[in-house]
């Protein structure tokens, strides 16, 4: 009996530095023991400073999310480019953190995937400790604070956190500078300017679900056509008070030809 008790009892400690020793606050990454470590790390990943940098970040993407009366629509492309080379056309840029939270991937793929998985772990711990779903506001704050603590070390992440929890649906933009912005319409990535054009002209809070999904799809299609570093296929998600549902993977090239036939757009492409 005693052995079970000791196994499941947290050691009571009067040490006021206990919270610092808590696993969550411990930095488990070995930083290179050079002066100005953050400058050194940035030189490893920043291609504008050093063309033959060792860690090639795959930038180039278009992701968007917008909030409307029935929930949130999240739509992303699936191309990863290493300079002009198309490294992959089938990248999953939406990370399913838990059944109520989605995170998008833009910037460094590894950074996004890793830290959003850590966020998923923190959200689950919150759920176990507090017996209720974490709010999107708190979840985004956790991620933003993690980003801020690594500010200057060369992490590259421009993500949108969309989900439902205590307080309803919410959409946040979080990036590796430590920015955390709440909003209704966001688009992130090299193709975001093209997506904003279509998104802003079609957006209305009172859209129907079908129109909202079509708007998300059509915005990504516009961006993948004009932006060289976006393309492949698009992944469409919808979030409402019950969590997220996946609405399909669509080949972008097919959608462009379909838009040309049905809407009459893309007239500059010869048949």
């Amino acid at each position: 009996m005693n052995s079970i008790l000791t196994k499941y009892t947290e050691k009571a400690s009067n040490d006021e530095d206990q919270c610092v020793k808590d696993e969550r606050f411990q930095n488990n990454f070995n930083i290179v023991p050079v002066p100005e470590a953050s400058m050194y790390l940035r030189s490893l990943t920043d291609e504008t400073q050093n063309r033959s940098c060792l860690i090639k970040m795959n930038h180039g993407t278009t992701t968007l999310a917008f909030r409307y009366q029935h929930g949130i629509v999240v739509c992303v492309d699936s191309r990863a480019s290493a300079g002009p080379l198309v490294a992959s056309q089938t990248v999953k840029k939406v990370i399913e953190i838990n059944p109520y939270l989605l995170g998008t991937l833009a910037g460094g793929a590894a950074d996004c995937q890793f830290w959003q998985t850590v966020l998923g772990m923190e959200c689950r711990l919150h759920q176990l400790r507090n017996k209720e779903l974490i709010s999107v506001s708190a979840a985004s704050k956790i991620l933003a604070n993690i980003m801020y603590s690594y500010k200057g070390y060369g992490l590259s992440m421009g993500t949108m956190l969309a989900g439902t929890g205590k307080g309803g649906t919410a959409l946040y933009y979080i990036d590796s500078d430590g920015t955390r912005l709440k909003g209704d319409v966001f688009s992130v990535g090299s193709g975001s300017t093209f997506a904003y054009g279509v998104l802003d002209s079609g957006y209305d809070w009172n859209l129907s679900k079908e129109d909202a999904l079509n708007l998300g799809r059509r915005s990504i299609v516009a961006a993948t056509h004009r932006d060289a570093y976006s393309g492949g296929s698009l992944n469409l998600y919808h979030i409402d008070e019950n969590g997220w549902q996946f609405h399909g993977n669509f080949d972008v090239d097919k959608l462009i030809w379909e838009a040309k036939d049905t809407e009459g757009s893309f007239a500059h492409i010869p048949r």
Partner: protein, 204 residues
């Protein structure tokens, strides 16, 4: 940012049985933004000689006009059309004239000689001629094109088969290059005619 990757674009030429094929993509862009889908990079110099130019778009246009001038002057002086092999040497010397301030372009010449023998060759930006009897590639998708051509090319293809081969090589190589694409244009040159075909490609 490299000047050769500023506008994007690629070109490929192949030989067949008494025919040659030359093809290029149609994209013109400025770094990541795609601006035009009607910017071919293959130009007819004579009925039987075609020039493909990749790289910096401004130099593509300038070189086309330069060689058009030189080919026309040749015709006036010699009272005959220039042969592909002679034209290749003309390209080589013109490029070397700018050895210390080169044109940022990698030309490709494809044509049929007087006796209808197929002729193709490629150049680097300062005029080194690379004579080949199978295929020549050029542009931002060159590495991808090398891979595609090595696997799909076979010698002595008929014009129709050569068209299929060169189209597949270019289309699939373009899909792995972010800054080439938006369709391609293919010229098949045979002793009696030249057929120009527009091939639909992925529009992303």
């Amino acid at each position: 940012m490299s000047i050769m990757e500023y506008n994007g674009g690629s070109c490929v030429a192949m030989t067949g049985k008494n025919c040659v094929a030359i093809a290029s993509d149609l994209r013109l862009g400025v770094q990541s933004i795609s601006l035009a889908n009607n910017f071919p990079k293959v130009f007819p110099m004579t009925d039987k000689t075609y020039l493909g130019l990749t790289g910096f778009a401004s130099d593509v246009q300038t070189l086309y006009e330069l060689f058009r001038y030189k080919v026309n002057m040749y015709k006036f002086r010699e009272e005959r059309q220039i042969e592909p092999k002679t034209f290749a040497n003309l390209v080589s010397t013109s490029l070397y004239e700018k050895r210390f301030g080169p044109y940022f372009s990698f030309p490709v010449v494809a044509g049929l000689a007087k006796d209808d023998n197929p002729f193709i060759c490629g150049f680097d930006s300062i005029g080194c001629i690379d004579f080949a009897d199978d295929f020549i590639v050029s542009g931002t998708a060159a590495e991808q094109l090398y891979g595609m051509c090595e696997s799909v090319y076979e010698p002595n293809l008929e014009p129709e088969d050569l068209f299929e081969t060169i189209s597949q090589a270019l289309l699939n190589a373009q899909d792995r290059d972010a800054i080439s694409g938006w369709g391609c244009i293919v010229y098949i040159i045979t002793p009696d005619k030249c057929v120009k075909r527009l091939v639909k490609g992925r529009q992303d």
